[in-house]
């Protein structure tokens, strides 16, 4: 008893230590932000290092890249002269600011900014948060507000720097389109108006690109400047031929699908958000009747139901996988797409094949192309003024008249002159080449710029994009379920209703106001939950402690340095690295949950607000629910099949190694490749492998597969009942019913089409049973199948490794048991249930817990790559990630991560307890 008390005491002491550390760490917020540039003295020279985003790559040989590289090279040569003219004297006069360096002999060295690349996701935010931000950062309209409000950008118009004021009127006019001024010159976080970034590459207008060859093939007149939506729809209808894999139009899905919709919204006369000068806030306005019209058009374009010549049901006229958009476009499988037009685009498309017109006119004759521009800004956390000045000079030079002249010259010399913006050709003296540029392009370009509207750039425009995607997705789901009225007026009313609902929600979200009473309630809830969590934690530590403390009555006290000194020494590297790389970041980061955390500037303590808000955040709970669904599917599908496969493999008489290799091979394919591969399989026409397969199976086939699975489950259940395992047996029956309904569900739309009298359906039942489905599955955009589709690649990839583990364990089961069972009268099912399963029990349990916990974390990456969280697949991990790195809400994100961690702790404890019980034994002995 004494020793037990002692352990308990020691345990308590450790617990207090841990809690104390946690509390202390809460006040030690990580300070991440810093810039990469620095000043170096080398051989009497001063070298300024600047890290630049999108630095032209000198290893690329295409003309457009060479043009950019030449401009940068020119900048490097000119830099010492520019420096001498603008900065040298100032630097020499103020060594206390600029440091003591040799300012007479100066050079600049530019470094490209590199980071991981995820499509459609703001990786630079991760770089900023991670402290590896470049000095020159890229800004687009949409995220400009986030950058400004979070103080990532350094104002370019401070009088003491003389950056912008040093530029002449002409220089400014050459570079900055007047429509872009409101975007770059805005109120900052402290209420003062500044210029935050400047554009390069001119204004980008959104235009409609089309494949001339496809239009000619179908005998459709090429689009013109006065094309309308109806013309476009008509053309898309004619071009679309899913059997061949050709589609009329290209539309990406995912979280930022609204990005595609905006053009239509504007062309209909609607708008995304409006600025209220007086209150200095932005409100979403995408709930107007015009917006409904735009949504109606968009949904029809994407999801309209039609029947092709073979009687197959098709939906929409668009290819919705943005992953292979450019490949499909290049192969001539997409008729039209929208894109920004600039010199880059000019130089990459072939005017013989690709035509270009302004975006089509909306119903009221408005044209709402989008105007955009790439922009560069200075990262606010550059500490060395010399680096900042050099970075500014880079930005300034990169698109100044001299640089553009160089670029134009190289383009012309490279034979690509006719693709250069005609305006520039004129300006730099190549009028003869201007005549060569494809007919109508110049006009299109001008119209695009003239009628374009800047992409939303207001406060929370990022949020607006997401929120705007929600009604689109909801409408899409209605369309897929055939629940949208066919009558246009009724349909408009339904869509309008959707928009109103989501617009109101978006505004509520963007304002982020919570009434005080609600706030108090959230506080109380958060406190209660946290209290619960702490007690759970305490309990957990006790459990773990007791599970792993061997119950040796006379264990000697103390650390016994003499005896175990070496052992402790050997432990140090492991313990040290785990502490350094795991626990210290974990503890330091955890503090964020209690702050309104900002990367730059002061974070404010908000106590439990983040937890409180989280508890009342529907989207969070939805994400948790999605995680549960994912987890369940993963369990069900990556956990059972390897066991079954292993058992089958065990029985294979010949070629075991061949089969094992076949099943294992997918595992050597990197995770992302697997997902991209499967995305191709999921192509929603018969060109996708999966649809091709499914479309060949008649309805009765699905029913039979489902029935076979159900029968198998019932057989198992019957064997179990014989041995009085009633509940497990019923579990198998439930599983069978589930499998049958899953497969049967696939046939429902064909056997009992919606809107048909039940009686009529029965009349046709027989012939329909033999027919095949008329409609290819929209695997990834239909919420019914999307989650399953995300899980399948994991099953495919995980089958081999899982199977091998079980196979190894199966080999460890002595033949005797099977033979004894044979003689006892067991059939195959009995042997699986009563010999194999119990023998593998320890392994299965460990695997089960591992798979379960892994499914919560592993989901994030694969789903991000698969659907980006669309079609109701946003799981908790992905939700947290978006929260942190697209909305920069690190506080709430950390709180959410904690919450997720707590939810999983129960399972971890269970796992630990199992692990503490399992005995590892050599092969051949009875499994413990």
């Amino acid at each position: 008893m004494i020793t037990q008390n002692n352990t308990l005491y020691r345990f308590r002491r450790n617990l207090i230590l841990v809690i104390g550390l946690c509390l202390i760490s809460l006040f030690l917020l990580p300070d991440a932000s810093q810039a990469s540039g620095y000043v170096e003295d080398r051989n009497g020279k001063t070298i300024v290092h600047v890290e630049v985003v999108y630095l032209p790559d000198p290893t690329r040989v295409d003309t457009a890249s060479r043009a950019d590289v030449a401009a940068v090279k020119e900048f490097k040569t000119q830099f010492p002269a520019i420096f001498a003219a603008r900065y040298r004297d100032k630097y020499k006069a103020h060594p206390e600011i600029y440091g003591i360096h040799n300012w007479d002999n100066i050079e600049i060295e530019l470094h490209p900014f590199t980071s991981l690349n995820v499509e459609g996701v703001e990786v630079d935010l991760m770089a900023i948060a991670g402290g590896t931000a470049p000095d020159v950062i890229y800004v687009n309209f949409r995220k400009s507000d986030t950058y400004i409000q979070n103080r990532f950008l350094y104002p370019l118009d401070k009088p003491e720097d003389g950056y912008l004021s040093d530029m002449t009127e002409d220089e400014q006019a050459f570079r900055i389109n007047e429509k872009i001024w409101p975007v770059i010159q805005r109120k900052g976080p402290d209420g003062e108006t500044h210029v935050w970034a400047i554009p390069y590459g001119g204004a980008l207008g959104k235009v409609l690109l089309f494949r001339k060859d496809l239009f000619d093939e179908k005998g459709i007149a090429h689009p013109t400047i006065d094309w309308t939506w109806n013309d476009m729809m008509e053309a898309a209808r004619k071009i679309t031929d899913p059997e061949r894999g050709t589609y009329g139009f290209m539309c990406g899905g995912g979280k930022h699908e609204s990005f595609n919709w905006i053009t239509f919204l504007w062309s209909a006369g609607g708008d995304v958000m409006l600025y209220n000068e007086k209150e200095d806030n932005w409100r979403c306005t995408f709930d107007t009747p015009e917006a409904a019209q735009a949504l109606d058009f968009y949904i029809r374009l994407n999801y309209e139901k039609w029947i092709d010549n073979d009687g197959k049901v098709r939906r929409g006229y668009t290819s919705r996988n943005s992953g292979n958009a450019w490949t499909k476009w290049a192969r001539g499988e997409i008729g039209m797409m929208m894109d920004y037009i600039d010199e880059k685009l000019f130089s990459t498309i072939n005017p013989e094949v690709t035509g270009m017109v302004p975006v089509p006119l909306g119903p009221s004759g408005i044209r709402g192309g989008e105007l955009n521009s790439r922009m560069l800004g200075l990262f606010a956390e550059i500490k060395e003024p010399a680096v900042r000045d050099a970075a500014w000079e880079y930005i300034r030079f990169y698109d100044c008249e001299d640089a553009v002249a160089i670029k134009t010259r190289i383009m012309v010399e490279g034979g690509l002159g006719r693709f250069v913006n005609p305006r520039l050709l004129r300006r730099f003296g190549y009028p003869e080449i201007e005549r060569l540029s494809p007919r109508g392009w110049s006009e299109t370009f001008d119209i695009a710029i003239a009628t374009g509207q800047p992409e939303p750039y207001g406060r929370n425009s990022n949020v607006a994009y997401d929120q705007m995607t929600l009604p689109i997705q909801a409408a899409a789901q209605l369309a897929l379920d055939d629940q949208l009225p066919t009558n246009p007026d009724e349909r408009l009313a339904v869509l309008h209703g959707l928009l109103k609902r989501y617009c109101a929600k978006a505004n509520e979200r963007m304002m982020g106001l919570v009434p005080p009473r609600q706030r108090a309630l959230r506080h109380i809830c958060a406190s209660l939950v946290l209290l619960g969590i702490i007690s759970v934690f305490t309990l957990v530590f006790r459990r773990i402690g007791s599970a792993f403390t061997p119950n040796i009555p006379d264990s000697p006290k103390g650390w016994q340095w003499r005896r175990y000194g070496w052992a402790y020494m050997l432990l140090v590297p492991a313990v040290g690295s785990i502490l350094l790389w795991r626990y210290i970041p974990l503890i330091r980061g955890s503090g964020m949950a209690f702050f309104d955390y900002r990367i730059i500037g002061k974070s404010t303590w908000v106590g439990l607000d983040n937890f409180g808000d989280l508890l009342f955040d529907n989207e969070w709970w939805k994400a948790v629910w999605n995680s549960l669904r994912y987890s369940f599917l993963i369990m069900f599908m990556t956990f059972l099949p390897p066991i079954i496969l292993a058992i089958l493999l065990q029985e294979v008489p010949r070629g075991k190694i061949l089969y094992r290799t076949i099943f294992y091979l997918p595992a050597v394919i990197a995770g992302l490749v697997t997902i991209l591969l499967w995305k191709q399989f999921y192509e929603p026409s018969e060109r996708g492998a999966l649809n091709a397969l499914v479309l060949r199976i008649p309805m009765i086939g699905f029913l039979l597969i489902g029935a076979a699975m159900m029968v198998l489950c019932v057989l198992f259940a019957r064997r179990l009942w014989i041995h009085e395992r009633q509940w497990v047996g019923w579990g198998f029956v439930a599983m069978g019913v589930l499998l049958f309904s899953a497969f049967g569900g696939l046939t429902l739309p064909t056997l009992f089409p919606s809107g048909e009298e039940l009686g009529d359906s029965f009349v046709h039942l027989f012939s329909r049973l033999l027919s095949r489905t008329g409609e290819p599955f929209q695997w990834l955009s239909d919420a019914d199948t999307a989650m399953l589709s995300c899980v399948l690649p994991m099953v495919w990839a995980g089958m081999g490794p899982g199977c091998l583990i079980y196979l190894a364990a199966l080999k460890g089961i002595p033949e005797d048991y099977y033979e004894a069972a044979d003689i006892d009268g067991a059939n195959v099912l009995d042997k699986i249930l009563f010999v194999v399963f119990p023998m593998l029990k320890a392994l299965i349990t460990i695997n089960f817990v591992g798979v379960f916990i892994g499914s919560w974390y592993g989901a994030t990456g694969s789903i991000l790559a698969m659907t980006g969280g669309g079609a109701n697949t946003e799981v908790a991990g992905l939700h947290i990630w978006y929260k942190a790195f697209t909305y920069l809400k690190f506080g709430p994100a950390t709180a959410a991560a904690w919450m997720l961690g707590f939810m999983l702790i129960g399972f971890t404890v269970h796992q630990l307890r199992i692990l503490s019980r399992v005995e590892y034994k050599a092969q051949g002995t009875e499994a413990g």
């Binding site: 014989i722 041995h723 002595p814 005797d816 048991y817 033979e819 004894a820 044979d822 003689i823 006892d824 009268g825 067991a826 009995d830 009563f834 010999v835 119990p838 023998m839 029990k841 009875e926 499994a927 413990g928």
Partner: protein, 370 residues
């Protein structure tokens, strides 16, 4: 209850490996037959063919009146006890015994009756709730037998069931198995490599070698009249002494003539060995067939002389391992005779109990009735 008959049974493994060659054997109803032989002799394979765990390559196996070649094990009405017991580790003793009955859809009360009965007989009543892990080796063995008994099969098959037990336990279990057989009087086929087990348990024993049956018979008969050199060497501990030599005729007497050793053949055996005169033969003498030559030994009597290499005191008897030229032989003597190491010992063989083997065919020439 049923007898088992094997008729010209072959087991040929892939690669033309002959494991069992032309085995014909009849096990009477209620008989306890022991298959014995060194490892790799095909005895286990034969048993497993009877059980249905191995396919029969050629020939037929009949249980009762039924040819069972294509009958799955569970329908052959047999029960088998494995060397490693093969008790399901995740089931309690009770469940282990009841498993086969449940699979055969016996009624619950019937299952309970049989299991409890078996547990009573095997004295397992106190352990019914335990898992096999918590039992001793002997108890596990009993559970394995219990699992066989409850099914009340026509034939019991034992595959070296005692080889995992310690010596004392083995003796104990041997008695129990005998007792069991006496009580239930079911046909039993028992495989072992231990000839003592074979001798003590079997109504008949069947000695196998390289997939072939060497001899089948009652234990005493096999012991007294081994049909071949192999059986002679295999059955009996310590093994029979074999001397190599030539059979010669001298003055109308037949004499075994070996290195350093010559011995007259018993007259009653003359007819049997006639054919091998002047040929190589082996003389077989069990250690017990020697007695110490003393002063009373008459002149001219046959005496073997050897130097003591090792002597083992077994209690009443002492085993002396003697060396004479290239011969090594063992004699069993009264233990009150003092025997010192390296001492030359003179022993007299009882040639009435000698076996003469044809050195080429290894067949016993002196089998009775031939």
């Amino acid at each position: 209850m049923a007898g088992v008959a094997l008729q010209n049974v072959y087991k040929i493994y892939p690669g033309n490996v002959l494991a069992v060659k032309d085995v014909s054997l009849k096990v009477e109803d209620g008989e306890f037959l022991v298959l014995v032989g060194p490892s790799g002799c095909g005895k286990s394979t034969t048993l497993r063919m009877v059980a249905g765990l191995e396919e029969i390559s050629k020939g037929t196996i009949t249980i009762g009146n039924r040819v069972v070649n294509d009958v799955p094990p569970k329908d052959r009405d047999i029960a088998m006890v494995f060397q490693n017991y093969a008790l399901y580790p995740h089931m309690s003793v009770w469940e282990n015994m009841a498993f086969g009955l449940k699979l055969r859809k016996f009624k619950k009360d019937e299952i309970a009756r049989r299991v409890n009965e078996a547990a009573r007989v095997l004295e397992l009543e106190d352990y019914l709730k335990r898992r096999p892990k918590a039992l001793s080796g002997g108890q596990r063995q009993r559970v394995a037998m219990g699992r066989a008994i409850v099914r009340d099969p026509a034939v019991f098959l034992f595959d070296e069931p005692l080889s995992n037990l310690d010596a004392k336990m083995r003796v104990e279990m041997r008695k129990e198995i005998l007792h069991l057989h006496k009580r239930i009087k079911t046909t039993m086929i028992y495989v072992t490599h231990d000839q003592i087990e074979a001798m003590t348990l079997g109504d008949r024993i069947c000695v196998m070698r390289d997939g072939v049956i060497e001899q089948v018979g009652e234990p005493t008969h096999v012991f007294d009249h081994p049909s071949s050199l192999f059986v002679a060497r295999f059955i009996g501990t310590p093994a029979m002494n074999i001397f190599e030599g030539v059979l010669r005729e001298k003055n109308g007497c037949l004499i075994f003539d070996g290195e350093n050793i010559s011995a007259p053949i018993a007259r009653r055996q003359y007819d049997q060995v006639q054919a091998c005169i002047n040929k190589k033969v082996c003389l077989g003498l069990r250690p017990k067939a020697f007695s110490l030559a003393g002063s009373s030994t008459e002149d001219g009597a046959t005496v073997f002389t050897g130097a003591v290499e090792v002597s083992e005191l077994l209690g009443e008897d002492v085993l002396a391992h003697l060396a004479s030229g290239s011969h090594r032989f063992t004699v069993s003597l009264d233990s009150h005779v003092r025997i010192n190491m390296d001492e030359q010992v003179r022993v007299c063989p009882n040639m009435e109990r000698a076996h003469i083997f044809n050195a080429e065919t290894e067949q016993n020439l002196t089998m009775p009735g031939t």
